[in-house]
């Protein structure tokens, strides 16, 4: 056997073990590289040499350097990553809303309480300028509080817009990089005779994982080594070496809201509602599920408070003797907004008016008005309940306390409008009055028994009249006093002034108290009791100079605990606490899911690491193993050399 035959396998061993050790070195060097998959050298015996005695091995050869990688686990890692970053982003954003609304100082509830305490203060001391000043100041601070909370929510909305822009930019940049890598991988795989460019594959997997942090993706590997990446309902983001960029587009109805746009054949469509997962999915879900409903709910409280408080305030009389005055501005009329779609074709463009006509029926939902081929439909977006508006636009239509009417223009088939009854109410609420004297603490009418010029009652009987109240402002202030004079023979009161006529009163049955009312004169309601004598009279007149009257202030203060909202099931504070509970529940769910998802992500990461991660101990052992093998191969060369020397010496020329 020739000594060259010994050297061949030894040298192949040396080379193979060098490759092994170089790979181990590479593994060790990349122990902390994100996305790096450990590599293993695939050794195969060299083709044997045929001799008469049979096949003799010729050493070892390096067939390939493979990365240890599991396609299935990589997919799982990506989906766990996108789910986790969606929930984390969602829960971070929602926690901000919850903390804002439930803040013991900045939240609405403490301000609402202080305001109504101040109203009670006016009710207990209506003539006090300082009590009135406190009510006015607390009203101002309540209004500011609504505006502050809304501005915070609006700025969270701007933050969501920024997140969408950032995410879209990052997605586009990652998509471009992935497309570029796809091109390189396809090319290198071709030129390397099918050998895989492991580093590029790792890089691409890492980029796809980074993409998963932004948005949920699905990947489909191609035979040429490239990977196609899809988002949403199958919109392709990367096709081979081409990236199709996403764009940020304004919402069709509301240009201040950013949406995700996808362009195919020159047509850009809004695909926001198809996007799931990742930071982007989290931001979009937060906006739909927490931010907008919160702003609506806050607006509902604002409109409910303003409308009901104003209604009572209008029934009262201020210190200047004026009635029919609002305390808050009329956001129930001015605040509901109707946003036409930018794609509407009606000409001239239709303007649709919306006002709140029944605050108790008001919901926190937005609505979409569509003109279909057969008519008009209104969709409540919170639960997609569709109402057919049969008489629209001929007559105003009221759904859930909101009255819609066509103000001008034409609605074409296919046109649609977004109706947001409460969205901007909290931003727009304000005070209608500026002076303490304008607080309507008194009732507009007062009742009295007839008196002489000195103020001494002239009635003979025991008849008495209650202080009375009003329920509307028709014919108020009274043009003159209304006098009720008792006629004992006919057992009725003759009414002079006001509506006139007679009021039957039988002392035998009615002396415990009988209630009367003049619907067309402020709805004045009063109770007469006792036994009036013939000719006794009562006078209902304008409540002049009544600085100490608190009847209306009492009614205003009573609103605090009345269930005026949500079909008579919630007080202002109740509706607000519902909002806190809703945001809290959604955040809690997100937190719980986020914790669970984090565990899943850790689990999958562990599995991926378990397969692909570098273990230094393992590498150390391999290093020792291949070092020894290398030494053995080197020893083979040394042995071969000494054999050769021995042979030379033995046959040397002596």
């Amino acid at each position: 056997m020739a000594s060259g035959d010994m050297l061949g396998p030894a040298v192949s061993g040396l080379l193979a073990f060098q490759t092994e050790m170089a790979t181990i070195g590479n593994n060790i060097a990349n122990v902390n590289t994100p996305g790096y998959s450990r590599e293993r050298v695939q050794l195969t015996p060299s083709p044997p040499q045929y001799t008469g005695a049979g096949y003799i091995g010729t050493g070892v050869q390096v067939s390939s350097v493979q990365r240890i990688y599991d396609q299935y686990l990589a997919g799982q890692l990506n989906s766990a990553t996108s789910a986790n970053s969606q929930l984390q982003n969602y829960s971070q954003l929602a926690t901000q809303v919850g903390n804002l609304l439930a803040d013991p100082q900045a939240g609405l509830s403490p301000n609402l309480q202080s305001f109504f305490n101040a109203v009670q203060g006016v009710a207990s001391d209506p003539s006090s300028t300082s009590a009135r000043q406190v009510m006015l100041s607390q009203g101002q601070s309540l209004v500011s509080n609504f505006q502050y909370l809304d501005s915070q929510l609006t700025s969270l909305g701007s933050g969501v817009n920024t997140q969408i822009t950032n995410s879209v930019n990052q997605i586009n940049s990652l998509a471009t990089s992935i497309a570029k890598l796809n091109g390189q991988i396809t090319q290198l795989q071709g030129t390397a005779g099918g050998q895989q460019p492991n580093t590029l594959l790792d890089q691409r997997d890492e980029l796809i994982n980074q993409l998963s942090q932004q948005v949920a993706v699905t990947t489909v590997p191609q035979t040429d080594g490239s990977v196609n990446v899809f988002i949403g309902n199958g919109q392709s983001l990367v096709m081979g070496s081409t990236a199709i960029p996403l764009s940020v587009v304004p919402n069709t109805y509301d240009a201040t809201r950013s949406e995700v746009g996808y362009t195919v054949g020159g047509v850009t469509t809004d695909i926001s509602n198809q996007i799931t997962g990742g930071t982007l999915g989290g931001a979009l879900a937060f906006r739909d599920q927490v931010l907008n409903p919160s702003e609506n709910a806050l607006g509902q409280v604002a409109i409910g408070l303003a409308a009901t408080f104003n209604a009572q305030s209008r029934l009262g009389m201020d210190q200047n003797g004026n009635i029919n005055q609002n305390f808050f501005n009329t956001i129930d009329q001015s605040s509901p907004q109707v946003l036409p779609s930018s794609t509407n074709t009606g000409s001239p463009p239709a303007t649709i008016g919306a006002t709140v006509t029944d605050v108790s029926a008001l919901t926190t939902s937005d609505y979409r008005l569509d003109r279909t081929a057969t008519g008009y439909t209104l969709t409540r977006l919170s639960d997609n309940t569709v109402t057919n508006l049969t008489n629209f636009p001929g007559a105003p239509q009221t759904v859930d306390g909101v009255t819609l009417s066509l103000a001008s223009g034409t609605i074409a088939v296919g046109d649609s409008f977004m109706i947001e009854p409460t969205r901007t109410a909290a931003a727009n609420i304000g005070l209608a009055i500026s002076s303490t004297s304008q607080i309507a603490a008194a009732a507009p009418i007062s009742t009295a028994v007839a008196t002489n010029a000195s103020g001494v009652p002239t009635n003979q009987g025991t008849g008495a009249i209650s202080a009375g109240s009003v329920s509307n402002t028709t014919n108020l202030p009274l043009s003159g006093a209304i006098t009720l004079t008792y006629d004992a023979s006919t057992q009725q009161f003759n009414v002079t002034g006001g509506p006139g006529g007679t009021l039957a009163y039988n002392p035998a049955t009615d002396s415990g108290g009988k209630q009367f009312s003049f619907p067309t004169y402020g709805g004045a309601t009063f109770t007469i009791s006792g036994v009036p004598a013939n000719g006794d009279s009562f006078v209902i007149s304008n409540n002049a100079n009544a600085v100490s009257d608190n009847r209306n202030a009492l009614a205003l203060a009573g609103l605090a605990t009345q269930s005026t909202l949500a079909n008579g099931t919630a007080s202002y504070n109740g509706a607000y606490s519902d909002l806190i509970a809703n945001v809290g529940t959604q955040t809690q769910n997100a937190n719980t899911s986020s914790t669970a998802q984090q565990a899943v992500l850790n689990q999958v990461t562990q599995q991926v690491n378990s397969v692909s991660g570098v273990n230094l101990d393992q590498e150390a052992a391999s290093l020792v193993q291949y070092q020894q093998a290398y030494q053995a191969a080197a020893q083979m060369i040394s042995t071969s050399s000494s054999l050769f020397q021995t042979l030379i010496a033995a046959v040397g020329g002596h």
Partner: protein, 402 residues
């Protein structure tokens, strides 16, 4: 399972981060004393806190209102006591003035005192509270309710209603009484009917204020006396404007004359043609009563009939002061009942508020014992994680391959 080296580090770091996070949460809870730091910690609890705080705040406001009502009603009560004392002293003066030993000049002195008393009474009726509000003015609390006009009459300018304060969820209490009810709506005479002597009487007949026997039939009755000659018996007849003649007979001084539920007694010697009237009571202000008394006291008693007029007037005034005292006592009793209501409601509010505070504390306050034990548990877990990391990070095969 195969573990990668980075995994060993990551796991230890994750474990430490988780423990630190929990530790931080517990620390925040301990430093704030609250178990709910953000609504997502306990959504239902957070909503409950908002509602409980509102109830507590509302109840506190009821308490504020109740103490305002308390001080205002106490002021009213003490004012009414002063009014009662004043009226009682004026009544004593009137009784004293009715004594036959009084002369015109001594009556004039008494008239002077009553007149001053009247002014004091007007001042009391115009009492203002600490906020400058007139307490007997009804809704017109910032205008002086009782004004003396140039001719000396006291006019009431206030309202007939008084406001109510909310002192509990369903409890309202009247904050005061209008001047009408306290000082103006006082029935004159004896409360059922009023007696009077005609100004043109020439005899010395004096009529008392009378009393009721059974049910008084409201009508204006005239008791007319006639005497044919100076020696013939004096006879009387009682004629109601609507009822006709209801009684007649021979007059005996001091005897009761009864008709239609009324019983009066006339003493002295009425002259032929003298008349007395008995009319249903009408409301008369206490000020008018006192003014009438002053007028009676200031009258000149030149003749027996003048003296009779004075005595009739004083007698009636005493009865009317009694009626005023009666009205004021009734008002005082109402004020006392309201004060009781306020006190009861204050107690109710207090215990309700205590209950709410307790519930609130149960929902939002931290259980320190369990939080502290949790804190030490979490500290222990963090220490364990840190120690595990310190141990594991030293373990490498490379350490042994030297």
């Amino acid at each position: 399972m195969r573990i990668s080296t980075s995994q060993i580090y990551n796991q230890s770091v994750n474990a430490m981060l988780t423990e630190q996070n929990q530790l931080n949460q517990t620390e925040l809870q301990l430093s704030s004393g609250k178990s709910i730091l953000t609504p997502s910690d306990n959504p239902a609890g957070s909503a409950q806190i908002v509602n409980l705080n509102q109830s507590i705040s509302t109840t506190n406001q009821y308490q504020t209102n109740a103490s305002a009502a308390n001080s205002r009603l106490s002021l009213e009560g003490s004012t009414l006591t002063s009014v009662t004392n004043l009226l009682q002293s004026l009544r004593s003066l009137a009784v004293e003035a009715n004594n036959s030993t009084q002369s015109s000049s001594s009556r004039a002195d008494i008239a002077q005192q009553v007149s001053q008393g009247l002014q004091q009474l007007v001042a009391l009726a115009n009492t203002q509270d600490a906020n400058g509000e007139y307490i007997f003015a009804g809704y017109q609390g910032k205008s002086q309710p009782f004004i003396t006009d140039p001719s000396g009459n006291v006019i009431y300018n206030g309202g007939q209603n008084s406001r109510y304060l909310q002192i509990g969820p369903t409890t309202q209490v009247a904050f005061g009484d209008p001047g009408t009810a306290v000082f103006e709506a006082v029935p004159n005479g004896n409360g059922t009917f009023a007696t009077a002597a005609s100004a043109s009487n020439t005899g010395s007949g004096v009529i008392d204020t009378g009393s009721t026997t059974g049910t008084f039939v409201p009508d204006t009755y005239t008791i007319a006396f006639s005497q044919a000659t100076s020696t013939s018996p004096i006879t009387y007849s009682v004629t109601g404007a609507a009822s006709g003649v209801v009684a007649s007979g021979t007059y005996t001084s001091g005897n009761n004359i009864s008709f239609n539920g009324a019983q009066v007694s006339i003493s002295g010697t009425p002259a032929n043609g003298d008349t007395f009237t008995v009319a249903p009571s009408q409301d008369q202000s206490v000020f008018a009563t006192l003014q009438n008394l002053v007028n009676s006291l200031n009258s000149n008693a030149a003749t027996p009939s003048d003296q009779a007029q004075i005595n009739t007037g004083i007698t009636r005034s005493i009865s009317e002061i009694d009626q005023a005292l009666n009205t004021i006592n009734q008002t005082s009793a109402k004020v006392g009942a309201r004060l009781n209501t306020v006190t009861d409601q204050q107690n109710t509010n207090q215990s309700y508020s205590n209950g709410l505070q307790q519930t609130l504390s149960g929902v939002q306050d931290l259980n320190y014992a369990s939080a502290i034990s949790q804190l030490s548990q979490e500290q222990l877990a963090l220490q364990a994680a840190q120690e595990a990391f310190a141990k594991v990070q030293g373990m490498s095969l490379f350490n042994y391959l030297r």
